[in-house]
């Protein structure tokens, strides 16, 4: 293919939450420029939180992202508890986890049905599916609504929960609502089975790139809400509070922004990363689905993140059922709310739907923040997406422009980047 000039500029990639552009310039089969450009406005959360009281910290930081605000809330609350030496009761943890898995369900379903499925079904958005695939759309709505309602039953709402506080629940949930949620979770197994059938027919683009993956790890359960250490596919574990020994955030002078990497370089976080790190701890029903979707043969194919999300949704529904049953099996006890701040540092780590999430807070004696650091899944993945781009483009460079563009867009969408999460920009200058 002599003399072919290729220039792709996908402005504001669709069906990605947040604002990002793909830039690809190639000439005679040689890549000249290729990157994912983030045009999201910088929001300066870490600066906005300085000097704020502890009781404002969570409600500010969850506004980093509207889709994973329960994950941000969870991480933030755990950082506060870590700093103030608060150990929530088993009951509080069980209730929180119901909401937490609810968000995992809603976020994954939003992604694999609303944002990724249109690619696989060859339509530009979810709206035409209302006509062409009414059953699928109803199923998707039911599952997503289930996720939302799990959150609502426990913490009031799923976008920026109002009643998810350090120490304990400010109000106990209505047992009738819990029973209803249990019934609906059990019924959701059928909808999920149909989703699995749909995704079992999907043919993923053929692409592989080996690289490191990081995820939360806990000895007793698949690392999601719980995180004792950060696990790497390289085999090492890093204690929560020592995350800086593993993850290096640094400012790249020419791109004016913080990147994250380990000693190995770029790494992946998210559903596929968690699967690669901790799959033995998945619920058996989820493992069976992974088997059916042949996930093990796509461990290095980022397009399979969507399949890993289907697997994790099954896991999350089973976990929600488990904690609902625990809760329904006893009289819930009222706990007094009252948090005593103290000076010190606290680190919260857990898994947002899109991957590893870290909030690191330091408080003064009055419980006001003197230092804040947040490491967000999408920031960690951006680097990895660019590495994927560079591995993928040479393999597909002879294909028509439209196909290259679609494959690149689908790759970005597979990571499910919620670019509004990127509290640090990746790049600011548009190169021409």
């Amino acid at each position: 293919m002599a003399d072919r000039k290729l220039s792709i500029f996908v402005e504001e990639i669709c069906r990605v939450e947040g604002h990002g552009n793909i830039v690809l310039n190639a000439s005679n089969g040689k890549i000249e420029e290729l990157w994912l450009e983030i045009t999201e406005s910088p929001r300066f959360f870490e600066a906005m939180m300085l000097g704020r009281r502890w009781d404002e910290a969570t409600h500010i930081s969850c506004r980093i992202c509207g889709i994973c605000s329960i994950a941000h809330t969870t991480t933030s609350v755990r950082a506060i508890e870590d700093a103030f030496g608060i150990e929530p009761s088993e009951q509080t943890l069980a209730l929180r986890k119901i909401a937490y898995y609810g968000e995992m369900i809603q976020s994954h379903v939003l992604h694999f049905y609303y944002l990724a499925a249109p690619d696989f079904l060859g339509v530009p958005s979810v709206f035409p599916l209302v006509q062409s695939h009414p059953e699928e759309v109803k199923r998707a709505l039911r599952l997503k609504r289930l996720g939302n309602d799990l959150c609502k039953a426990i913490v009031g709402r799923h976008i920026h929960p109002c009643a998810y506080l350090p120490k304990c629940m400010p109000k106990l949930p209505d047992p009738k609502a819990l029973e209803d949620m249990h019934r609906r979770c059990v019924a959701a197994r059928e909808d999920l089975a149909a989703a699995v059938d749909l995704f079992a027919t999907v043919k993923l683009p053929d692409f592989q790139r080996e690289g490191e993956a990081l995820a939360s790890w806990h000895p007793d359960e698949y690392g999601m809400y719980e995180c004792q250490a950060i696990k790497s596919t390289q085999g090492d574990l890093t204690e929560r509070r020592d995350y800086r020994q593993k993850i290096h955030e640094y400012v790249v002078p020419h791109s004016h922004a913080k990147h994250a990497e380990t000693e190995q370089g770029a790494y992946m976080v998210g559903a596929l990363a968690r699967y690669r790190c901790n799959k033995e701890q998945l619920h058996p029903a989820a493992l069976a689905v992974a088997d059916r979707l042949q996930l093990d043969s796509y461990l290095f194919n980022p397009y399979a993140i969507t399949l890993a999300q289907v697997v994790e949704t099954v896991h999350s529904v089973e976990e929600a059922i488990r904690y609902l049953e625990w809760t329904l099996g006893r009289e819930l006890e009222w706990e007094d709310w009252g948090v005593k701040p103290r000076a010190g540092r606290g680190v919260g780590v857990d898994e947002a739907p899109r991957g590893l999430l870290i909030h690191d807070y330091t408080f003064d004696d009055d419980g006001k923040l003197t230092a804040v650091n947040c490491i967000i899944p999408t920031n960690q993945n951006l680097n990895n997406i660019e590495r994927d781009f560079h591995a993928l483009v040479p393999q597909i460079i002879d294909r028509p422009d439209a196909e290259i563009q679609l494959l690149l867009e689908m790759l970005v969408r597979a990571y499910d980047p919620c670019i509004s999460c990127a509290t640090h920009l990746l790049r600011v200058e548009i190169k021409r």
Partner: protein
């Protein structure tokens, strides 16, 4: 009559508000009955050249790029409707004003941040004319649907101008002041059904204040717990930093 066309445009925010629309869940199908979405980057690949009837904006205006884009959007839509605290009130984004713009860039990005495009965060109405504003962080799906229905039927939508306490009392909630929490309910604009106190937590006035907090505050609650509306206005400025800045400059102007 043909269904009005609609589009959603996002600026500086968490996109929780556009998600809240996508999430009217069962109602998503209902929204689709009311309007035809022709452009919405988070949800669809389609784009349009034609004039759009209803343009929903989420997010604040906080960069030069935002400013340019909102002016372009204004040209393309007949009615502009701001949704959520960020768009109606600058929302959490205005919290950065506490420090200088140069300083916030340095706090987060170090010296390399100096080149970033950031300006004071402003609500949409501070840059272009806006036909209606739907408050909240995030917006409430039901209120959104009701307002869109009013607009589609040519009625003037309204927002309540009484404090959250009124809705809270109606629900017979235990007042969270009893638990030692401080609640903005007496001065906050109702319409959310006192969402937060109903789940046992305090209100942070994510929908802004009633028009005249000093006159329209819930006196009974203020008296009972010995707080003043001015004290409350200062308690949680998470969503109202911009509104408070404006209030202050108005008061100074009057002097």
């Amino acid at each position: 009559m043909a269904k009005p066309t609609a589009a959603v445009f996002s600026f500086t925010g968490c996109e929780g508000c556009s998600l809240a629309i996508l999430e009217c869940e069962k109602e998503l199908l209902d929204v689709v009955k009311l309007v035809d979405f022709v452009e919405w980057r988070e949800a669809m690949s389609e784009r349009t050249e034609a004039m759009i009837d209803l343009g929903f904006i989420d997010g604040a205006i906080s960069t030069h790029h935002d400013e340019k884009k909102i002016r372009q959007v204004r040209e393309r839509v007949r009615m502009l409707i701001s949704i959520g605290a960020c768009a109606t009130n600058a929302g959490v984004n205005a919290l950065k004003h506490r420090y200088g713009l140069r300083e916030v860039k340095e706090i987060v990005y170090g010296e390399a941040g100096a080149e970033f495009d950031t300006i004071s965060a402003r609500p949409v109405h501070a840059v272009v004319p806006v036909e209606f504003e739907i408050p909240g962080c995030p917006i409430q799906g039901e209120e959104f649907l009701r307002i869109v229905l009013d607009i589609v039927q040519g009625k003037q939508p309204r927002l309540p101008n009484y404090p959250v306490c009124v809705e809270c009392k109606r629900k017979e909630n235990v007042c969270v002041f009893e638990k030692g929490m401080i609640c903005m309910g007496p001065v906050a604009r109702a319409g959310c059904g006192a969402d937060c106190p109903s789940y046992g937590a305090w209100c942070e006035a994510c929908r802004g204040f009633v028009d005249n907090p000093n006159d329209e505050a819930h006196e009974e609650v203020l008296t009972k717990y010995g707080v003043t509306s001015e004290e409350l206005l200062q308690r949680y400025d998470i969503f109202c930093a911009y509104e408070l800045e404006e209030r202050k400059s108005r008061q100074q102007g009057q002097r």
